[in-house]
Symmetry: C2
Subunit: 188 residues, 2 copies
C-alpha cells in the first residue's frame, strides 16, 4: 500500500457496544461501517457472544449481528476508541451491564475518545463520566444528563474532550464525521 | 347497595397514564383492573386518543387499549390518584410528554397519591418529585433516581408520603395491594 492510501483510522482499534437486544440498528451499522471504511479495526462487544438482535424505531425487529467478544473478557487497554449506539431498550440494557459500564469508565479514565448517540449517553451517566461535561443526547435524557452534572445542549453533534454525542439517527452524518475526526486526533 | 358492599375505592377517581406505544401491558392492565375492582372510576390518559399499543417484555407487541382522554385536556383536579406503568420505551415516551409530566407535577403539588412501577419512575424524575423521597424502580434507573436526589432501595414496594413504587412485573401483587391502600387512605 502506498502512503497515499493511508486512511485516517489506520491502526486504530475501535470497540462498538451492542445490547443483546434493542440497539437501534442504524446507530450500530452506520458508525461501524464509517470507522471501518476509515481504516479502523472494529470489534463488536456485548454482554454475551452469539447474535445481538437490533431494532428499528425502538420497537420493530431488525437484523441480528454477530458479537465478537464479551464485555467480561476484554479490557479498556485493547481499544483506542469506543462507540455506544442508542435504541431505548438497548441503551437501558447496556447501562445495566456492570462489565460494559466498567469498560467505559476505565476507557474514560485514560481520557480516550468515545462516541455515543441518542439513548446511548445513559451509559455515560451510568459510568459517571458526564459531570462537568457538555453533551447532547435524545431529548428525553436531558434531565438525567443534567442531574448527573452534565451541560446538555440541543445540537446535532457535541464534542467535549473526546466525548462525541448526538441526538438521534437524523444526526448520523454529523456524528460519524465527528467520531472519525476525534478518533484520528486521539491516535496521532 | 348495602353498606357491606362498600369498596375501598368507591368514589375515587384514578387516572392511569399510558404511552402511545411501548407501555408494558401487564403493568397497565393489572393495576387498572385492581383499582377498578376496588371501586375506583378509572380514566385512561395518554398523549392522544385512539388506541395505545402495549408490549410484553419491552419489545414484543401486545394488545392495544383505548385511551379515554388526552393529557392536554385534563387537569390534576380531576383525579384523586394517578398510576404510571413502565415499559422502557413507554416510560421514555411518557416522560417526553410535557402535558403528561405537568399533570404529575400538579398532582404531587397537591400531595395526592401516585403509584409507579418498573421504568415508570422516570416520569417522577422528570416531574421533579423525587428529591428527598425514598423509592424504588427497575434497577437500571437507580442512578437516575439517585442523581435526582431520591433514596433508591431494592424492595418489592416502597411507600413514601403517597408515592408508591415497585421494581418490575414480579412485584405487581405487592404494588397493587399498596396502591389500593394508599389511594383509599388519601381519599378518606
Amino acid at each position: 500500500m502506498s502512503t497515499t492510501d493511508r486512511q485516517p483510522l489506520d491502526g486504530v482499534s475501535v470497540g462498538i457496544l451492542v445490547a443483546q437486544e434493542g440497539t437501534e440498528e442504524v446507530e450500530f451499522t452506520e458508525p461501524k461501517e464509517t470507522v471501518s471504511d476509515a481504516g479502523a479495526d472494529v470489534v463488536v462487544l456485548s454482554s454475551d457472544t452469539g447474535d445481538a438482535q437490533t431494532v428499528n424505531n425502538d420497537l420493530d425487529e431488525a437484523d441480528a449481528y454477530s458479537v465478537d467478544k464479551r464485555f467480561s473478557e476484554v479490557s479498556a487497554d485493547e481499544y483506542d476508541a469506543l462507540i455506544v449506539p442508542g435504541g431505548t431498550v438497548g441503551a437501558d440494557n447496556l447501562r445495566a451491564d456492570e462489565d460494559g459500564v466498567d469498560l467505559i469508565k476505565q476507557h474514560r479514565a485514560e481520557n480516550k475518545p468515545i462516541g455515543s448517540i441518542c439513548h446511548g449517553p445513559w451509559t455515560l451517566v451510568e459510568a459517571g463520566v458526564v459531570d462537568n461535561r457538555e453533551l447532547t443526547s435524545y431529548a428525553s435524557l436531558r434531565t438525567d444528563v443534567e442531574n448527573a452534572g452534565g451541560e446538555w445542549t440541543d445540537q446535532e453533534v457535541v464534542v467535549d474532550d473526546g466525548v462525541v454525542t448526538s441526538r438521534n439517527p437524523d444526526d448520523l452524518d454529523a456524528f460519524t464525521d465527528a467520531i472519525v475526526e476525534e478518533f484520528a486526533a486521539a491516535s496521532e
